[in-house]
Amino acid sequence: MRRPGGEPRVEVAAEAPWVRRLAILLAVLVLGLLLLLPLLAVATEALRRGWTPVVAAITDPDALAAIRLTLLIAAISVPVNTLGGLAAAWCIAKFDFPGRALLLALIELPFSVSPVISGLVWVLLFGAQGWLGPWLQERDIQIVFALPGLVLATIFVTFPFVARTLVPLMQEQGRSAEEAAATLGASGWQTFRRVTLPDIRWALLSGVLLCNARAMGEFGAVSVVSGHIRGETNTMPLHIEILYNEYQFVGAFAVAGLLALLALVTLAAKALLERSGDLARLRRPPA
């Protein structure tokens, strides 16, 4: 007699070849259409008239200012979110405290609200008509339509990346390694640096790089707080939009190509680092 349940499962797997091939084909098609084609389009559109206009569009003072601003915003908000995300994930995964579930929900808040709202809250808080507007104006502190507002909006939008990548991993790893470290006399900092951090480094890196990609590419929230002052508060995505709206298609696609390239470099760096991490594991002495 056949074992009940054992046989059908084998058949499902055995019957699959053409289904599998179809599924792979579909996936490749969708991937090509939705992901690769747009990238290709950006590149061809930008290079339609050769390299000269591309170089001109990128070396334009306003474009250079936008590139500098985008890199500066990423350079501030990524470290802030790395530390904040690490701290939040560490608290949620390793400790029990009242409000833990609430904190977890709050971390996901920026993902669930529209980026426009994420930008608008800062205007409502710090804008001229905002709650703290008059107080700030008296002291001549500019937040909205200036770098602080752009950084705040970016930090808010990209906060979940690091925390969300770390929480599931850290929860799965449990607390016993940390407890073991404690019984062996390690302080909280020693435990974090020598036990917890090495265990999560690849997930952390992945979160940081995703956070960076989004920080450079964020449009909605940044657009609300920017004020679109050319050469001052325009980030790369905003600069691209302005060029596009002014029918400077080559310029728009040139800067867009550069932005896409930055994102690709980030992803490549991530893949490369993960690979070297895997290699390091493989290079261990044989079991």
């Binding site: 016993s176 407890e179 404690a182 019984t183 062996l184 006399g185 302080s187 020693q190 020598r194 265990d199």
Partner: protein, 356 residues
């Protein structure tokens, strides 16, 4: 290192993990906390280590109240059930961890750390594994690494949570013997948690039997087996059959008429009160006579009351599963022949422990 536990209680939400537990553990003792899962034994162990905290009650170690002392300052060795080795460190670095995290003044120099780690790995008999990672060694080897790591800080008190739970029988046997030798050699206090009564009986000089957050009895293994304090201990230890009975006029009368009566003098533990009682009889405490050996025909008083269901050799003795009016009873007898399955027999308890 002596441990004094006084009135310890711990509650997790609705569940009462510990209720008013008191234990006094002498220095250099080898103590087992034995009980079914959920009896609170691991909670008690974690409170001793400072990994969990009691709602009320005190723990004193060497006379010092531990309430305000965090785990990392207790200097207590702890071996986790899943070993909790540091995945990204070699075996060597795992064992060296407790020495490396010491403050600079107390940290031994590198050469000394190397010497000490290698000595510990020799002691746990895995010196050849120092450069391996935890996921490259077997369960038994991980257990030894966890032990060496805990011992590296030279703890006067070593706590082990289900130390042999995940290991196969052969490895477990070897490690048990070795742990007992280690205890004798190092002269430290060891407290370990187990749900395996054979393990507790074999290793510990004193066993605390726990049930539903309370310590039912804390005694040496002989005393536990000879004089269980209550029906739970009697039923939990020694694989005893559980038989309803009545205690009247100094005589125990089993409810199953085929089992007859036992005079008070024959009882290892007699009920405190007259009336309904629960009697426990261990496998070797039965008298078995099978058909063809003696008198007695048919069921009822003095007659055949049971049928052999299964029979297998057990190290020079024979282990029987006997059906007594629908109740399966385990019995151990001397010798071999005459106990084929299906054979009708007369079985009588020689003694019993009975509780009202």
């Amino acid at each position: 290192m002596s441990v004094e536990i006084l009135g310890l209680s711990r509650r997790f939400g609705e569940a009462q993990a510990l209720r008013d537990v008191s234990l006094s553990i002498a220095a250099r003792a080898f103590v087992a906390l034995l009980g079914p899962s959920g009896s609170g034994k691991t909670t008690l162990l974690r409170i001793l280590a400072g990994l969990d905290f009691a709602d009320s009650g005190t723990v004193r170690i060497e006379g010092r109240d531990m309430a305000e002392v965090p785990a990392r300052e207790r200097g207590i060795g702890f071996v986790f059930q899943n070993y909790a080795l540091f995945r990204h460190m070699t075996v060597f670095e795992n064992v060296a961890f407790g020495l490396r995290v010491r403050p600079r003044r107390a940290r031994p120099p590198e050469a000394e750390i190397g010497r000490r780690v290698r000595r510990l790995l020799e002691m746990v008999q895995i010196p050849e594994l120092e450069r391996r990672y935890p996921d490259q060694i077997s369960g038994g080897q991980r257990q030894r690494v966890a032990l060496a790591r805990a011992l590296a800080i030279e703890p006067p008190l070593l706590l082990l949570d289900e130390p042999f739970g995940a290991l196969d029988a052969e490895v477990r046997k070897g490690l048990r013997r070795w742990l007992r030798e280690l205890h004798a050699q190092l002269g430290i206090t060891i407290v370990f948690v187990t749900h395996d009564q054979d393990e507790a009986m074999e290793l510990a000089d004193k066993v605390a039997v726990m049930q539903a957050g309370e310590v039912s009895q804390f005694d040496p293994p002989d005393v536990l087996l000879e004089r269980p304090a209550n029906a739970f201990v009697a039923g939990f230890l020694g694989h005893a059959a559980r038989l309803p009975a009545r205690f009247q006029g100094g005589t125990l009368r089993f409810e199953d008429p085929g089992l007859g009566t036992l005079p008070g003098a024959a009882l290892a533990v007699a009920p405190r009160r007259e009336g309904a009682a629960l009697a426990f009889v261990r496998p070797h405490e039965w008298e078995v006579r099978c058909a063809g050996e003696g008198p007695g025909e048919g069921p009822g008083e003095g007659g055949r009351n049971a049928v052999i269901r299964a029979s297998r050799p057990a190290g020079g003795r024979r282990h029987l599963e006997v059906d007594l009016a629908g109740l399966t009873i385990e019995i151990e007898v001397e010798g071999g022949a005459g106990y084929e399955p299906g054979r009708p027999c007369v079985i009588r308890p020689r003694t019993a422990r009975a509780y009202s």
